[in-house]
Each structure stands twice: as C-alpha cells, then as structure tokens.
C-alpha cells in the first residue's frame, strides 16, 4: 500500500459524497429508532446494494453502519432510550446531563467522540491491518470465556452503589439470556412453551422494555424530564452550548483516543460487538478516573467513553471479516454477503487481489466520518429541544411507538408483548435500584458465554481447570481480578488518606 494508492482511494471515496450523505441520514434515522438494526436495514436494501458497483455499495453500507452507531446515543442521551445495545452505556451519564439541562453539550460530546473515535481507529486500522488481523486467531474458547467474564464483572463495578443488587440483576439477566435451545442438542430450556423463545430472548424487545417502557412509566411521576433549572437552560439553547460541547471534547481528547482503541480491539474479537465495547470502555474510564464517584451523575467522560468505543468497534469488526472471512458481527456478515456476491474472496488474498476494495472499505469509513461531523453537529441544538416536551405527551408516544419498534427485528407480535413484560420488570427494577443495565448486560452476554463455556468444557470433558490452562487466558484472568479489586482498594485508600487542606 503506497501513499499514492491511499490518496487515490481518498479521492475516489470523497467523490462518492452523493452515496455517503444520504446513507448517513438513513443511518441516523435507523440508529435513533430502537428495534431497527443496521443489518436489517441493509438486508431490506440488499437488492439496491447488489445492483450497483461494489465500491458504491460498500460506501453506502459503511456510511449507514457508522452513522447508525453514532445515532444510537441520541435517544440514549435525550430520553434514556438507547437506539441500540451499543448505546446502553451512554444512558448512564448522558441522560443525567440532559436532566441537568446540558443535553446539547452531551449530544455534541456524543457526536465528536463517535466521529473522532471512529476516525482515529479507522486510520489506525489502515496502518496496522496486517498485524491486527492476527489477533482474532489467538482468542479461543477458553480466552473468550474469560473475556465474557470480564464483561460480567462490569455488572458489579458499574452499579457500585449496591453490588449485591447489581449482581442479582446481572445473574438474573444471564439466566434469562440462557432461555432457548442449547447449542449442542437443540433442546429447549425454560421457554414457557413459546416457540418464539426457541432462538433465545430477542435483544431488541428486552432493550425496549428495560429502557424505553420502564423509563416512560417512571417519567410519568414528573411533569417534564428535566428539572426547572434544566428547563430554563433548554429554553435558552444557543450555539454557545454547541461550542461548549466542542470545548469539552477538545479538553478530553485523550479520553476519546484511548477509549476508541478499547472499542477497536474488542471489535476485532468476533461476536463481542459494540455493547460489550461500550461497557468495557465505560468501566475502564471509571476505573482510571481521578473522580470515579462522579460517574453516573452526568459527566463528559461518561458520554465520551461508550460513544468513542462503540464507534471504535466499527473498523475493528471489519478486520476479521476481510482478513479471515469471519464476520465480526451481523452487519459485517451482510457486508460480506454483498462482497462475495460481487466475486470477492475473503481472507488475506483479498488485500493482494482487490486492494481497492479491501483498503477502500476503511478509507470509505474514514471519509464517512469526515462527512458525518459536518452533517450532524449543527443538529444538536435542535435535537436538544426534545426535553421540553411534557411527559404527558412523551410517555404515551415512547411506550406505543417503541412497542411497535419491538416488532421490527423479527416481525413477531409476540415480541411486542415481550417488550411490555420487560417494561414492567424494568419498572420494578428501576424503582428498587436493581439496575436495569445489569439485567441487559446479562441477557446480552448469556448466549455468548454459554457458547464458549460449553465449547471449552467439551474439549476438557467437563474439567473446569481448562479455564486456567492457557497463558493468555491466565493474563486475562489477572486483569479481571484486578478490575474487581482495584476499585475496592481505591475506595479504601481514598477513605484512609487524610483530607487535603
């Protein structure tokens, strides 16, 4: 790959602005709506992407995919409803910022962290592609079990106010995540007799119920979602607030960079995805922070970390797809189908035989991010006014529209009822501090955790010591223990240290 080749690729991709800009807007709409995943949208648009030249098809799909990752944070910040699982962690600090009347700043932080996080990791991927593509090969079932457990420890660490309640919520979610047929014999487990649960608990209804519906039911207690001071601030929206958001982003530039790389490395692991990346980045951000106690109260770092990471994932996911032919996620799988339809053979040979496509994908991603910052940033001012709606109108719209969105993923009426059930569970959990996020992480990780655990146990014929049999796995165990112990030690240390004059 030479500089001339790279510059030529950038010129080609900038020339595709007429494909990229509409895809960005479509991606934003799809990302804002819970239940509309980029892969479903791409599947619906498959006839279009198969009909046009591969460069245009990839530019369209990549722009839609990246915009979708960015847009999931918008409803997460404004109304505490993540547009996708990857934005669930954004609610933790994004929504409190909105409640404080800083919705515009939070949105700008979300946009800049997403765009620059995505851009930096895309450029890094371009430079490090030959080496990055090897990482996935070193992670086998044993290491993946530890990676999953690492995700599980977030349950306790994120909801540190009451670790026991958080653990109950998390393990309850994990058990719910095991509903469905097992991976080996396809025998149904705890499906309550519903065929619709044989494939497991669908994530979108769970997400909609636990976040959107439960939040709407809680929202009814107040006239508005912001307090009086926040309302006053929201009424006086100015461009100065957008600039303030930009100032905060520049101030926290290093935070954007390192959390984006957390996303990139997790994205490379097939199956891990944006949700895990966002939570890991949030947890690491809190772990290394000088003021961890402020997380959850509405601070910029709490918005930057998950947003930067979930966009860092976008380039990471494509690494195993192109280099190994193993899709890093479902959207990557759809892209792989389109590439294969156009005669591309995935794997290391793709970079030699079709460098304009292999590298062009990442160049296209970088260009999409550049376009995105100019198209979406000015909209923050207007989007932030959503908080001025009275809950009298907002709650019914949220409940009834999101329940329809629950239908979108699998097109079952059953999923709408399931979302309502999760909504009621989420409401009780919310009111009694059982942390709905912990339940969601559990549901999210349940199937993956089982898949890798059973695979490892089958190799060892049921011997659990296999989980401690690999060097890389043991290093990961060390990190896991560290991330559990460090917050406790830090709290103890800060309590015992004398107060500063």
């Amino acid at each position: 790959m030479t500089w001339e080749f790279l510059l030529e690729q950038f010129a080609v991709q900038f020339g595709l602005w007429w494909v990229i800009i509409p895809a960005i807007f479509l991606g934003i709409i799809v990302g804002i709506l819970p239940g509309f995943s980029p892969q479903n949208t791409l599947i619906m648009l498959l006839p279009l992407t198969l009909a046009v030249p591969v460069e245009q098809a990839m530019a369209f799909m990549i722009a839609l995919y990246c915009a979708n990752h960015l847009a999931g944070g918008i409803p997460a910040i404004l109304v505490k409803i993540p547009g996708s699982g990857g934005a669930a962690a954004t609610t933790l600090d994004g929504y409190p910022m909105t409640q404080k009347g800083q919705a515009q700043q939070a949105l700008v932080l979300c946009f800049t962290a997403s765009v620059f996080g995505g851009l930096i990791t895309t450029l890094a991927t371009l430079a490090l592609l030959p080496w990055l593509s090897q990482i996935g090969l070193y992670l086998r079932s044993v290491e993946m079990v530890v990676v999953m457990l690492f995700g599980l420890t977030l349950i306790a660490v994120i909801a540190a106010k009451d670790t026991l309640k958080a653990l109950i919520a998390g393990f309850f979610g994990l058990l719910v995540g095991v509903i469905g047929t097992d991976h080996i014999y396809n025998t149904p487990r705890a499906t309550f007799g519903f065929l619709e649960l044989y494939d497991g608990v669908p994530l979108v209804p769970a997400l909609i119920g636990l976040f959107a519906i439960s939040e709407a039911l809680v929202m009814l207690e107040e006239k508005m979602i912001v307090d009086e001071a926040g309302r006053e601030r929201a009424l006086r929206v100015r461009w100065a607030d957008t600039i303030d958001g930009l100032r905060l982003s520049v101030q926290k530039w290093w935070h954007i960079v390192w959390t984006a790389f957390v996303g990139l490395f997790i994205g490379i692991v097939p199956g891990a995805g944006a949700s895990i990346a966002a939570f890991v980045a949030y947890q690491q951000s809190r772990l290394w922070s000088k003021h961890p106690e402020q997380y959850g109260t509405g601070i910029p770092e709490g918005v930057i970390a998950p947003e930067s990471a979930n966009n860092g994932v976008t380039s990471g996911t494509l690494v195993p797809t192109l280099a190994l032919g193993v899709p890093g996620g479902s959207t990557a799988a759809v892209m792989m189908i389109v590439l294969q339809y156009h005669g591309m053979v995935m794997g290391p040979r793709l970079f030699a035989s079709n460098p304009n496509v292999a590298y062009g994908v990442f160049v296209s991603m970088a260009v999409a991010y550049v376009f995105m910052i100019f198209t979406i940033l000015p909209l923050a001012r207007y989007m932030s006014r959503v908080v001025l709606f009275e809950t009298t109108y907002l709650a019914p719209i949220i409940v009834l529209v999101t329940i329809v969105a629950a239908f979108g993923e699998r097109q079952y009426l059953f999923d709408m009822a399931l979302a309502l059930v999760f909504g009621v569970i989420g409401y009780v959990a919310h009111k009694t501090s059982y942390h709905v996020t912990a339940i969601l992480i559990g549901i999210l990780l349940g199937p993956l955790f089982e898949q890798y655990l059973v695979r490892a146990l089958r190799i060892s014929q049921g011997d659990l010591t296999i989980l401690f049999s690999s060097t890389l796995g043991n290093i990961l165990w060390g990190f896991l223990v560290l991330s559990l112990v460090l917050p406790v030690l830090k709290t103890r240390f800060s309590r015992s240290s004398p107060p500063q004059p």
């Binding site: 619906m44 309640k165 919520a169 994990l174 097992d182 705890a190 009298t392 097109q411």
Partner: protein
C-alpha cells in the same frame, strides 16, 4: 421511620421463581445443555439468599418494613401508569384486527386522554404519530405488521 424494603424482594422473588422453573426444565437434559444454567442459577440463588437474609435482619431489628410503597409511590401516578400498561395490552391484543394505523391512533387517543391531555392536542398528536408509523412501517419499510382497514384502503 422504617425503611420500606418489601418491594426490594420483588425482583429476587421473580428471579428465584424463574431459576426454579429453569432447573425443572433442564432436569432431564444432557450435561452440555445444563452446565451453564446450573452454574449461573446456583450463583443467583446464593445471591438471592444473601439479599433475603439482609432484608430479614433489618426487618427483625425493626429498621425496615415489608411495605411495597417504593413501587407504588407517588400514588397520584398509579392510574396513569396502570392505564398506560392496560392501553398497551389492548393495543397489542387488537392489532391483528385494527391494523397498525387505526390501532395506534386509537391507543394514542386513549393514552393521551388518560394522561390528562385535552383539546386539539388530544387529536393532533395521535394523527401525526399514526401517520408517521404508517409511512415508516407500512409504506417505506413494508414490514409484516398486521394490516387493518386503513392499510387496505391505501393499498
């Protein structure tokens, strides 16, 4: 004043009931199919027992009551909350006959009326929301959502 901790037992009770059902449903399966569930379920039951013991200890010391007020308060929102859930159930149950547009229009009307909305806004919001849902889910995305009289009229 005693801390109302009765509601803190709802999620553990639900989780315990589900864990029990899960164990029954996997009793006759091969070890590969139940290994994960047994590990997770056992840890969950253990955690629930600790939580129950914690609440029981506070209750025995007279520091907590088993009142459910945490989930009920504020009482003035109960009618709205239960009403919204009831309207949603009715919407899902009748969707097959009414179709998305008409069903959503009526459900929005009922929900907004329950929330206390009156006047023009009571009709404007449902019409806008139902029209937007029709455009997105039926006209644009062509999903398999049930069609009713309005969808048939425009098809």
């Amino acid at each position: 004043m005693k801390k109302p901790l009765g509601a803190d037992l709802i999620i553990p009770a639900l989780a315990l009931g589900f864990a029990a059902y899960f164990f029954v449903s996997i009793a006759d399966l091969a070890w590969e199919a139940k290994a994960n569930g047994v590990i997770i379920g056992t840890i969950l039951v253990f955690l629930i027992l600790i939580q129950v013991a914690r609440i029981a200890a506070q209750w025995a010391r007279g520091k907590a009551s088993l009142s459910l007020e945490t989930v009920i308060e504020p009482r003035e929102a109960i009618v709205k909350r239960v009403g919204l859930v009831a309207v949603t159930i009715a919407f899902i149950a009748t969707l097959h006959w009414l179709g998305l547009t008409l069903g959503l229009l009526l459900a929005m009307l009922a929900a907004l009326w329950l929330m206390g909305a009156r006047g023009k806004v009571l009709f404007v919001i449902p019409i806008v929301v139902a029209a937007a849902a029709y455009l997105l889910f039926v006209a644009l995305l062509n999903t398999d959502i049930p069609h009713g009289p309005i969808e048939r009229l425009f098809s």
